[in-house]
Subunit: 248 residues, 2 copies
DNA sequence: CGTGCGGTTGAAGTAGGTCAAAGGGTGTGG
DNA sequence: CCACACCCTTTGACCTACTTCAACCGCACG
């Protein structure tokens, strides 16, 4: 686990993700890679990396594993506001706000880099392409959050679940986590319900409908999209909001 | 309208907003004020300032008037994803994405400053406090968007509408647009429905319920919150996510 | 071998949607 | 100055997509 080769691989998803948004300079890549290796951390499944109210003083970059942001109402109702996938920088900039207004929990074991704020700021100052890539990432996250608002506000259950699956599929691709038409999908139906604003029971029935329509298979934490076009159609999905083209 | 005094006043909401997030330097204020005055624009009510797919090459800072961001599905369903209030910088950073993934429409006549990207970037480079304030603003907007996800996903109609009213009230305060317990509220029930993910009919009945509970008055585009604590209670509202304390 | 979690099923209830029509205010054109 | 049109609001009746409750199943794990 501590051979240079393996460690180099660890940073791959992040670099792929950022480089897809904004071409990184060689120097930027090297600096980033070093910062990542110096801040390596692990967390188990079902842990909360941060809670509402916590002070924020570092940036976390996810190297492997899935997480989710969520908020909980006083009476226990829970809403997942986004999924954080390998290569995502969670809180690249949230730290500007000093205090967490939401929580972050792991859905799987996770390997991440914890980069202290001053280190991160030096990183951005040292390489313009890195700074721009991180800002782009932040803006894409905002765009995703807007789309979730639309999804939950105006799509019916079937469209809503389908849309979420399309989004995750599309986001996993650039970081190389799609294998054919399948991908890991470590999200329980409970999580899916909390992410879509539906009840577990209804998510269950909705998934069955998607399966019955031969659009997807979802078993043993593996999602297979059998008919991507079909799924996108019923989801009213267009990938524009993910801004996968290079920006800036 | 073109006396220096009046023009100075125009920029007030923006400066108050940004300064509340991150104390601005004298120099920063002066630079910002100049950039604003050089880019003054107007728009009428019901105009779209930008549409999905449009290229983005400037930042708009709202000096007076209300706008909303929204997305429309193919079949006409519409979701407002946020309200843009006086003092807000719409797209302070969205321009990084090059293409709009949503539209922006006016709810009232609007006065705004259109600042071209290179000018804006020079502004940020010239004064650190301005740069930080704008980034903070962007992060607060993300936080608001997350809360909307929670609102629409997990709150019932009554809570949801109440929460939206609380939020707007709270956001108008720092820019000095609250008069006692009243404020302008140029949002139709149609808009309210599109913002909350409800139907117009149900928004209407929900408002009546809030009125019957003597929590609010809403007539002639004026909102009066008669019992703020009560409204916040049923909305499960806490202002934390608005990060009104200085940050950074 | 129990215990607990996630998934599945059925039955019954309800929050909120849809449809349709009517009322009030305002602006416009004849 | 009236009439008409348009937009927003309001109301009533009916409908349904989704929730809730409750139970059961299968599987992994201690």
């Amino acid at each position: 686990m501590h051979s240079p080769a393996l460690e180099g691989n660890l940073a791959q998803p992040v670099i792929r993700r950022l480089d897809a948004l904004r071409q990184l300079s060689e120097r930027g890549i090297a600096l980033l890679q070093r910062a990542i290796l110096e801040g390596l951390q692990r967390a188990g499944q079902g842990e909360d990396l941060a809670n509402e109210g916590d002070p924020v003083d570092s940036v976390r970059i996810i190297l492997s594993g899935w997480l989710c942001r969520f908020k909980t109402l006083e009476d226990g109702r829970r809403q997942i506001t986004s999924f954080i996938l390998p290569g995502d920088a969670c809180d690249a900039c949230v730290y500007l706000l000093s205090v967490m207004d939401h929580s972050i929990g792991t859905l799987t074991p996770v390997i991440y880099a914890d980069i202290k704020r001053p280190v991160f700021e030096r990183l951005l100052a040292a390489d313009q392409s890195l700074a721009q890539a991180f800002w782009c990432e932040t803006m894409v996250n905002s765009a995703i959050q807007r789309e979730w608002t639309v999804n939950i506000g105006r799509r019916i259950a079937l469209e809503r679940v389908a849309h979420l699956l399309c989004e995750i599929h599309e986001r996993l691709r650039p970081v190389g986590m799609i294998d054919g038409d399948s991908c890991a999908f470590p999200v329980t139906q409970i999580d899916l319900a909390d992410a879509t604003g539906l009840s577990v029971v209804h998510v269950n029935r909705t998934l069955q409908e998607l399966r019955a329509s031969r659009l997807i298979t979802l078993r043993d934490r593996t999602l297979t999209i059998m008919d991507l076009r079909g799924l996108q159609n019923i989801a009213l999905f267009t990938a524009d909001y993910l801004h996968t083209k290079r920006c800036g």
